[in-house]
Amino acid sequence: MKLTLWPAAALLLSGLCAYSQNGNAENGKQLFMKNGCYECHGTVGQGGTGPHLAPRPLATAALTAYVRKPGGGMPPYSVKVMPDSEVADIRAWLATIPEAPAAKSIPLLNP
């Protein structure tokens, strides 16, 4: 039994690892709202009370470490509240957000 299941478990584990590294961006977009990230960082990660998260978000490992032990006024998100896979999904979505336009290209932002 163990022998027969082991390859399947290994496959599953490797799949999970790949999932964690890449994340599911579509799911991440929903989690960003559901987990209340947008409350401080804006609905497109542009920043609010907290800093902007996108484009070019932190790497998954760094982002995960930060949400577990954040600085400033951000409350900690435990694994129970936000599993690693959810952080990875959110990170994947943040990575899809395009660069903000240059301020100089926006007439309203020119003094």
Partner: protein, 629 residues
């Protein structure tokens, strides 16, 4: 005043009879423009129900002599005598009665007015059920050092309280409820006493630190005839010169500032008037010192090269970032939270010298804790900032040498470059989420600025709730262009304060605008009707994030710390399901309005439509659905 001086009903009847024989002399004394005798006016001196020259007429004379432009009030029977005399005897001019829908709104409107105009209006309220509504706004004004002049009605004589309602609306000591959050109060016992206390109250309110004062006025004294034989006089009002800093202390402050390598000026409620802003510019330029504006008032031009506020951080009050942490001398000007201001700086530099000029050191109350944590100040100067700045500037100039001037110029150039880079970063940050829907607060602010920047504008709402974007992006250089926030960080101040301030701006022809938070408007939105009814021109742009967002973050933080998940944090914090249609709300009260607008591309046209209406002298509201912050 002796009890015998007061008028009871028996005295009133007797007085009415006597008044028929000697009306002219009394009229000359009190300047009452009443008919020479009651018969001429069609009244009957024998009819005790007729009182043609009530005490309230004299009270109106006193209020007129003080110079009140308006009276903000929700009507109430205990001050009905003053109300009636104001609109009839006084002609409803100076003061003009402005109808409010809640006493909290009356006082918050008065706060907004005072911060624009530099002086109070009159406000009236029931001594009981009105004052209880007004209390929150009084606390705001107390914390915000705003002069509020509140007149309470109360029926003092228990024998003359008509029925159940009058008893319920009467109180032994009306002002007791707010005595810990006001500067002075009195309950005059005669018209002479009233006149002296009315003038005294104004003088006290207007002496820094400015605060609310309360005058409790007996209903019978208002409604019954001016007692024969009483010759009330209107005292002369002369405001006290604000207190200047001690000469020696000012000289020492100048010495520290001139010798410092990196002096920083932190201003919170420093500028009470336009002169304050100019003086602060002169001091900063003389020293070539950086200025961090904590924006409880408009203290320093946002685009001045020495303005270092953007480098200090904008996420919360007070701003405490790099310019302060790099300083060796900090000059705090009426800064309300010294401890937080210098805490990080002192951790980095224990030898930091802190100079404070504050009128708040001259007057403190015990119960409410607005005095903040005790802070070690090296040179505390208990004085008014504006009154002290001229002597400080002169003292600094006397110490200048060519060497120091050269050092100052080099420092100024460095600060200017730092300020320029910080402004550039602010614009870059504003570009994030530029086309987002809901609309980003940066986009909202930039769109509004584009439409008003060539007007004589005045932003009347607190920018804290929108990440200070206007203060980061707009060119503020006049004192009336910003009036700070509520003072106590309570909610319900903004909407009425903006209406009161807009009324003050009206005669100056300024374009009043506000970025109004949704939760605040819902506290007492009857103020929209007041704006429509009295034709108060104000463009209100909703920051409608459909939540009490500060509390969303607070509950979210707690839920996380308690490791319970955040799927229920919307309970009690969101203002949705159903969403409030603020345009319809405003329209229902006679305010032209449109929205909700979620697409930022629709904003410019809406703003142009709104400004057109406001320029015609009417209020306009645009509901915009926005990002949380």
């Amino acid at each position: 005043m002796a009890k015998s001086k007061r008028v009871d009903r028996r005295g009133f009847i007797k007085g009415a009879a006597l008044a028929a024989t000697a009306p002219i002399a009394i009229a000359q004394q009190v300047r009452v423009a009443a008919p020479a005798n009651t018969a001429e006016a069609g009244g009957s001196a024998a009819d005790p129900r007729i009182t043609e020259r009530p005490g309230a007429d004299f009270m109106i004379d006193v209020f007129k002599s003080i110079g009140f432009e308006y009276c903000f009030a929700m009507p109430g029977s205990s001050f009905a005598g003053i109300h009636e005399s104001m609109i009839n005897y006084g002609g409803n001019q100076a003061p003009e009665y402005i109808t409010c829908c809640n006493e909290e709104s009356s006082v918050a409107m008065a706060s907004g007015y005072a911060k624009i105009e530099g002086k109070p209006v009159m406000t009236c309220a029931h001594g009981t059920v009105g004052l209880q509504h007004a209390t929150m706004a009084i606390y705001d004004a107390f914390c915000d050092r705003v002069p509020i002049y509140l007149v309470l009605g109360n029926t003092l004589d228990a024998a003359h309280r008509g029925g159940e309602v009058t008893w319920l609306h009467s109180v032994q000591d009306a002002a007791a409820m707010v005595r810990e959050i006001t500067k002075w109060d009195d309950t005059p016992q005669s018209l002479t006493h009233f006149a002296e206390s009315a003038v005294r109250a104004y003088k006290i309110a207007m002496t820094p630190p400015m605060m609310p004062v309360v005058l409790t006025v007996d209903t019978e004294m208002q409604e019954q005839a001016i007692p024969p034989g009483e010759s009330p006089r209107i005292p002369k009002l002369a405001l006290a010169a604000p207190p200047q800093g001690d000469t020696g202390a000012v000289a020492e402050a100048a010495r520290l500032l001139v010798a410092a390598q990196n002096p920083v000026i932190v201003a919170s409620r420093a500028a009470r008037t336009p002169a304050g802003l100019k003086l602060l510019v002169e001091l900063a330029e003389t020293l070539q010192a950086g200025v961090v504006d904590q924006h409880r008032r408009m203290n320093f031009p946002t685009r001045h090269p020495l303005n270092q506020t953007l480098r200090a951080g904008v996420s919360g009050k007070p701003t405490t970032g790099a310019p302060v942490t790099e300083a060796d001398v900090v000059l705090a000007l009426e800064s309300s939270d010294l401890y937080s201001t210098v805490r990080q700086a002192r951790q980095r530099n224990p030898t930091l010298k802190l100079i404070s000029i504050s009128a708040s050191d001259l007057f403190l109350k015990s119960n409410y804790q607005d005095f903040m944590r005790f802070t070690d100040v090296d040179l505390p100067i208990a004085a008014d900032v504006e009154a002290t700045l001229p002597s400080l500037i002169e003292a600094v100039k006397r110490l200048l040498t060519d060497d120091r001037k050269r050092a100052f110029q080099a420092r100024g150039a460095k600060l200017a470059e730092g300020g320029r880079l910080a402004a550039e970063k602010a614009r870059a940050d504003a570009a994030y989420g530029w086309d987002a829907s809901p609309i980003s607060t940066a986009r909202l602010s930039a769109e509004l600025w584009a439409q008003i920047k060539n007007e004589d504008w005045s932003l009347l709402s607190d920018t804290f709730w929108i990440r200070e974007w206007p203060l980061r992006l707009w060119n503020f250089d006049k004192h009336y262009q910003y009036i700070g926030g509520s003072g106590s960080e309570g909610i319900g101040y903004m909407a009425p304060a903006t209406v009161g301030a807009a009324l003050a701006n009206k005669k100056h022809g300024r374009l009043s605008v506000a970025i109004q938070t949704d939760g605040d408007l819902m506290v007492a939105n009857g103020v929209l009707w007041t704006a429509a009814h009295h034709h108060i021109p104000l463009l209100t742009l909703m920051h409608n994030n459909r939540a009490y967002h500060q509390e969303v973050m607070g509950i979210q933080g707690l839920a996380n710390r308690h490791n319970r998940g955040i799927d229920r944090i919307h309970i009690g914090t969101k203002i949705d399901n159903p969403n409030i249609d603020y345009a319809k709300l405003a329209q229902s009260m006679g305010v032209r309005a449109e929205g909700p607008i979620s697409d930022p591309k629709e904003l410019a046209a809406a703003l142009r439509r709104g400004i057109e209406v406001v320029k015609r002298g009417e209020p306009y509201l645009i509901d915009t659905v926005t990002q949380p912050r």
